[in-house]
Amino acid sequence: MSPIFYLLAALTIGGGLAAVLLKYLVHAALATTVAFAGLALLYLELDAQFAGFAQILVYIGAVAILIVFAILLTRGSDLPKDGVFSRTWALGLVIAAAVFAVLGWAVLQSVRAVPQQTAVPAVTVRDIGNALVGRYVLPLEIVALLLTAATIGAVIVAMHEKERPR
């Protein structure tokens, strides 16, 4: 395993751990951004440049900002009195550990069946463009519709209600 991979994996998992363990919400949101950045670098390591740049553009440039805006608008700077972890935190931890155990066992069991190293796929942005309007045009249109619906829905849900005249 190359040292770059170890570094990126440590960055990503460290960011994820910090995100769920930190006390202040804004720090947790910034740690999530670090995890997103680590993942973008992992995509670049896997020769998926378009996915890596899209990850930076969408997740760091939009989703992270959405999260911090939501924290600001809901006064996330105040800490709850009973602490940030719920009362049943042990059960949550056990469930997560069980899920990791199952996934890890599945990965390590099946590692013999997968070919270990294939050649670098020569994927250009042109191929991605052709695929998007060729083979994947239906998912593209559906995702466009979904994004429109989500935009309108989010605006309506978060809008101030007009005062009804009494």
């Binding site: 395993m1 190359s2 994996a9 990503t12 998992i13 751990l17 995100a19 769920v20 919400l25 999530t32 995890a35 993942l39 995509y43 390591e45 896997l46 998926a48 378009f50 996915a51 990850q55 989703v63 959405l66 999260i67 939501a70 924290i71 608008l73 809901t74 996330g76 709850p80 602490g83 940030v84 972890f85 009362r87 059960l91 949550g92 469930i95 997560a96 990791f100 890890g104 990965v107 390590l108 270990q116 190293q117 294939t118 670098v120 796929p121 020569a122 994927v123 991605i128 695929a131 998007l132 998912p139 995702v143 979904l146 989500a150 935009t151 829905g153 989010a154 605006v155 849900v157 978060a158």
Partner: protein
């Protein structure tokens, strides 16, 4: 960019994804604040994306771009879902003046 020296097997990426998924799940289950749950969900979606890209890279037909397309659409859908989810959290905060999940336990406003 391929790594200098020994290249990383597929299992490495899958384990990282599994670990990130478990961390996201733990975050969604353990924290009180609604926004932290959403952060946990985003981490889980990202872990799944990493899985998709890793399988695309090491799979039999990377030139078909199936894995990368799936991952790109998943990124778009996750962004939409984050927007709607956070809009909901803001609306609930406006209504009940709190974002703690333990306190939002009544259907009556």
């Amino acid at each position: 960019m391929t790594s200098v020296g020994v290249s990383t097997p597929l299992a490495g990426y899958l384990l990282v994804a599994a670990m990130l998924f478990a961390i996201g799940l733990a975050g969604a289950l353990v924290r009180r604040n609604a926004i932290m749950v959403l952060i946990g969900i985003e981490l889980m979606l990202n872990a799944a994306n990493l899985n998709l890209i890793a399988f695309w890279r090491f799979g039999p037909h990377p030139e078909l771009l199936t894995g990368m397309m799936f991952a790109i659409f998943a990124i778009a859908v996750a962004a939409a879902e984050a927007a709607v989810g956070l809009g909901l959290v803001i609306a609930i905060h406006r209504h009940t003046n709190t974002t703690e999940l333990d306190k939002i336990n009544r259907m009556k406003g």
